[in-house]
C-alpha cells in the first residue's frame, strides 16, 4: 500500500509539469481557436531563460522564473500580433503551418544561442533535500512543484471566474462578434490570453531546469504529451486539462511500476480508452 501511495505522489509531481504546459495550450485553443504547435518551444525557451538567468547570471531562482515568464509572455504577444492575427480569417491549416514553422525556427534559434549540448544548473539550496512520506524520502522539489501547480490552478480559476477580464475572455470565447459589439476589445483579449498561455509554458520550462536537462528539442517531447492531455480533457477546457494531466501523470507512474514493458504505450492507451468512451474528451460540454 505504501508503495502505491508513494508511486502515486511521484506521478502527481510529474502531472504538474504536464498541467502547466497543457493549461496554456488549452486556454489558447479555447479562446483563440489556435492549435499552437509552438507551445512546446515556448516551454523550451522558458527553460533556457530560466537556466541562463538562474544558472549563469546568478539571479535568485524565483526571480529567474518570473523574469522568464515575463520574457516569454512578451514574445507570445509579438507572435500573436505579428504572425497569427493576419491568419484569423483564413483556413486553420495556415495557423498549423505557421506554428509548426515557429517550432523549427525557435529550436534552431536555441541551438544558435545556447549551443546543441544540454544544460542543467544546480538545484536551489532551499529546494534540496526530502521529507519522509510513506517510509521513503520524497523530494522537496517535487512537493514544491505540486504546490506550484495547485496555486496556478487556483489562480486561473479566480482569474477566469472572478474577474472582469475573465468574463471578457469567456464572452469572447463564446461569441467573438457579440463580445466586440458589447464593447470588449477582442484583439486585446486575444493578445492577453496568448501572453498568459505563453507565460504558463515558460513557468513549466523554467521550473524544470534544475532537475531536467535543457536542450533544443525538449519542447517536442512535451507538446506531444500536452496534446494528449488536452484531447483527453476536451480541447479548450481548463478543468479537462487539469484532470487529464493528473490522469496521465499518475497512471503513467503506475504504468512504470506495474507494466514497465509497456510504459511508452501506456499514455496512448489511456487516450484511446477515453476517446472510445467520450470522443469529445472527458470535460467537453
Amino acid at each position: 500500500m505504501e508503495v502505491l501511495a508513494y508511486q502515486g505522489l511521484i506521478g502527481l509531481s510529474s502531472a504538474m509539469y504536464l498541467w502547466l504546459i497543457s493549461a496554456g495550450l488549452t486556454i489558447i485553443f479555447g479562446v483563440l481557436g489556435v492549435l499552437n504547435f509552438a507551445h512546446g518551444s515556448l516551454f523550451m525557451l522558458g527553460a533556457y531563460l530560466g537556466y541562463t538567468l538562474y544558472g549563469v547570471v546568478g539571479l535568485p531562482f524565483g526571480v529567474a522564473v518570473l523574469a522568464s515568464m515575463a520574457a516569454v509572455a512578451l514574445l507570445g504577444a509579438a507572435v500573436e500580433r505579428g504572425l497569427l492575427r493576419p491568419l484569423y480569417g483564413l483556413d486553420p491549416s495556415y495557423q498549423l503551418l505557421l506554428t509548426f514553422g515557429l517550432v523549427l525556427f525557435l529550436d534552431d534559434l536555441a541551438k544558435l544561442v545556447w549551443g546543441g549540448v544540454f544544460r542543467i544548473p544546480p538545484i536551489p539550496p532551499w529546494l534540496q533535500g526530502s521529507v519522509v512520506l510513506f517510509g521513503r524520502p520524497y523530494p522537496l522539489y517535487n512537493a514544491f512543484l505540486m504546490a506550484t501547480g495547485a496555486l496556478v490552478g487556483g489562480g486561473l480559476w479566480v482569474l477566469f471566474d472572478r474577474t472582469w477580464w475573465g468574463r471578457a475572455v469567456r464572452a469572447t470565447a463564446a461569441d467573438r462578434d457579440m463580445a466586440a459589439a458589447l464593447g470588449i476589445r477582442t484583439p486585446g483579449v486575444f493578445s492577453s490570453v496568448f501572453m498568459l498561455g505563453s507565460a504558463l509554458a515558460a513557468l513549466g520550462g523554467a521550473l524544470s531546469t534544475p532537475v531536467r536537462p535543457v536542450a533544443p528539442g525538449i519542447g517536442a517531447a512535451m507538446i506531444v504529451q500536452a496534446f494528449i492531455i488536452t484531447v483527453i480533457g476536451g480541447l479548450g477546457n481548463l478543468r479537462g486539462a487539469f484532470a487529464g494531466s493528473l490522469l496521465v501523470g499518475v497512471l503513467s507512474s503506475y504504468g512504470t511500476l506495474w507494466f514497465p514493458e509497456f510504459e511508452l504505450f501506456f499514455v496512448f492507451a489511456i487516450m484511446a480508452a477515453v476517446l472510445l468512451v467520450r470522443p469529445q474528451g472527458l470535460f467537453a460540454r
Partner: protein, 419 residues
C-alpha cells in the same frame, strides 16, 4: 637581371596556392582530397557526443594534414547531425557518398541508426567506421552472419557494460540487482549480457526489478520510485549523456544513495556525464557508491600516446576528450594505416589491409577481429571520484579486465533480448 626572378616567384606562389587549395600534386591515390563523412548526434540531450565526434575527427585530420596527409593526399571532413534517427542517418550517408563523394564514413551514436545503415553501406560500397553505436548485433549479425564487409567498429560494443558483473563479483553484500534501462536495444542488450555474466559468476544473485525509459525522458522519478520499491542492493543504469545526469540527480533527490550499496552507470565515465555531476561528486553526495565505465576514459591507460592525445585535445578544444572523440580520432588513424598499407581507397583492398591489424591508439592497443570487424581493446571500470588534479570528476580505483573474459567471442550464439 634581377627582374628575371619575378615570374619565378609568381609561379612558385601560384603553385603553393594550388597545393593548399587542392592538395599536394603528389597525392599517390589520384584524388584531390580524401573525403571523410562524419555523423553524430548534434542536437538534444545527447548532443555532446556528436560534438565530441566532430572534435576528435577534426583533431586527427589537422594532425595528419600537417604531417603531409595520407600518401600525400590531404583529408577533408563533412560533419552531419544524425539526430539519433535511423532515417536521418541513412539519408545523411547517402548524401555524403553519392552527392559529396565521401571515401569513408564515421560515427554514429545510435544503435538504431547503425543497424539501419548496415545494409545501405553494402549498397553504397563504402566502409563506415562505427565509433559509438554499441549494439552487439551490428557486428555479430550484420558482419559475422550477413557478411556486410563495409562495417568496421572501432569502439567497444555493449559487451563493455557487462564489465559491471566482473567489477562486483566479489561484493557478496550486493545480491539484489535492478535496472533503470534505456528503452531500446542498447538497454535491453546491456541488461541481458549483464544478467548472463552475473548468473555465471554469482549464481546467488537475484534480478528483482526493471524500469525502462525511452529516449528524451526528462522525468525519471517514476522509474526510480518503481525500481526502489523492489529494494535492490545494486542498480545498473543505461540512460546516457544528459539523461544520465538527470537520472542521477533525480535519484539523489529521492535519497536512493542512502538505501542502495552500488549504482553502476554504464556510460557514466563519459566526459559530459562527469562534468554534469562534478559538483555532487565533489560534495560526496553519491557516498562512494557510484561506479561507471565508458568506451574510453581519458585518465587511462597511462601511456605516452594517451597522455599526449589528452594534452593535445585539451589544448585544441579546452575540453577533456570523451570516448566518442577518442574512438573517432583513432578510427581516422586506423584509416590512415589501412590506406597506407593498401595504397588504395578501394573497399576490398582497405578491408584486406585491416586484417591482422594491431595498432597503438590513445585507448591502448586495438586488435582487429576478422570474424566480425570489431576492434578489441580493454577499458577499465571504476568508482566516480573527485581528484583535484582534474577539472571534472573522474573514474578512480580503476579495474581492468581482459576482454577475453567479458566480451562475446565468435562463433556467436543469438542473445535473448527482452525487457
Amino acid at each position: 637581371m634581377r627582374w628575371v626572378w619575378v615570374p619565378l616567384v609568381v609561379v612558385a606562389l601560384l603553385a603553393g596556392a594550388s597545393w593548399s587549395a587542392a592538395g599536394p600534386a603528389t597525392c599517390a591515390l589520384g584524388v584531390p582530397t580524401i573525403k571523410l563523412g562524419v555523423q553524430g548526434a548534434a542536437s538534444g540531450p545527447h548532443a555532446d557526443y556528436g560534438r565530441q565526434i566532430e572534435m576528435g575527427a577534426q583533431l586527427a585530420i589537422e594532425e595528419i594534414n600537417a604531417a603531409g596527409g595520407i600518401l600525400g593526399c590531404r583529408l577533408e571532413m563533412r560533419f552531419m547531425d544524425e539526430e539519433l534517427r535511423p532515417a536521418t542517418a541513412v539519408r545523411n550517408a547517402r548524401f555524403l557518398v553519392t552527392e559529396w563523394g565521401a571515401h569513408f564514413l564515421y560515427g554514429v551514436d545510435s544503435s538504431g541508426s547503425a543497424m539501419a545503415l548496415g545494409p545501405v553501406l553494402r549498397e553504397l560500397d563504402r566502409i563506415q567506421f562505427f565509433t559509438h553505436a554499441a549494439t552487439h548485433r551490428l557486428t555479430e549479425e550484420l558482419v559475422a552472419q550477413q557478411k556486410i564487409k563495409q562495417i568496421v567498429r572501432v569502439s567497444a560494443p555493449v559487451y563493455q557494460d557487462a564489465v559491471a558483473a566482473w567489477l562486483f563479483r566479489d561484493r557478496r553484500d550486493v545480491r539484489r540487482w535492478a535496472t533503470i534501462g534505456a528503452d531500446y536495444e542498447y538497454g535491453y542488450a546491456t541488461w541481458a549480457i549483464f544478467r548472463e555474466q552475473m548468473r555465471r559468476l554469482r549464481p546467488d544473485v537475484e534480478f528483482v526489478g526493471a524500469a525502462w525509459a525511452p529516449f528524451l525522458t526528462t522525468d525519471f522519478s517514476p522509474h526510480i520510485a518503481a525500481v526502489m520499491a523492489t529494494n535492490p542492493d545494486g542498480i545498473i543504469a543505461t540512460p546516457w549523456a544528459g539523461e544520465a545526469v538527470t537520472l542521477l540527480r533525480q535519484a539523489l533527490l529521492q535519497g536512493v544513495f542512502d538505501r542502495i550499496k552500488v549504482w553502476f552507470q554504464a556510460m557514466g565515465g563519459s566526459v559530459d556525464v562527469l562534468e554534469g555531476i562534478s559538483q555532487e561528486v565533489k560534495e560526496g553526495r553519491f557516498q562512494g557508491k557510484l561506479y561507471a565505465t565508458a568506451r574510453y576514459i581519458h585518465n587511462w591507460p597511462n601511456t605516452e600516446t594517451n597522455r599526449s592525445f589528452v594534452s593535445r585535445f585539451a589544448k585544441r578544444w579546452n575540453r577533456m576528450p570523451n570516448y566518442s572523440a577518442e574512438t573517432t580520432y583513432s578510427a581516422i588513424y586506423i584509416t590512415k594505416a589501412a590506406v597506407e598499407r593498401a595504397r588504395s581507397l578501394q573497399t576490398d583492398r582497405v578491408i584486406a589491409a585491416l586484417q591482422g591489424m594491431r595498432i597503438e591508439t590513445p585507448a591502448g592497443v586495438r586488435v582487429f577481429r576478422s570474424e566480425d570487424h570489431q576492434f578489441v581493446y580493454a577499458v577499465p571500470a571504476g568508482k566516480v571520484v573527485w581528484d583535484p588534479r582534474y577539472p571534472i570528476a573522474v573514474l578512480g580505483e580503476l579495474k581492468v579486465f581482459d576482454p577475453k573474459d567479458y566480451w562475446r567471442w565468435p562463433p556467436f550464439r543469438p542473445l535473448e533480448l527482452s525487457k
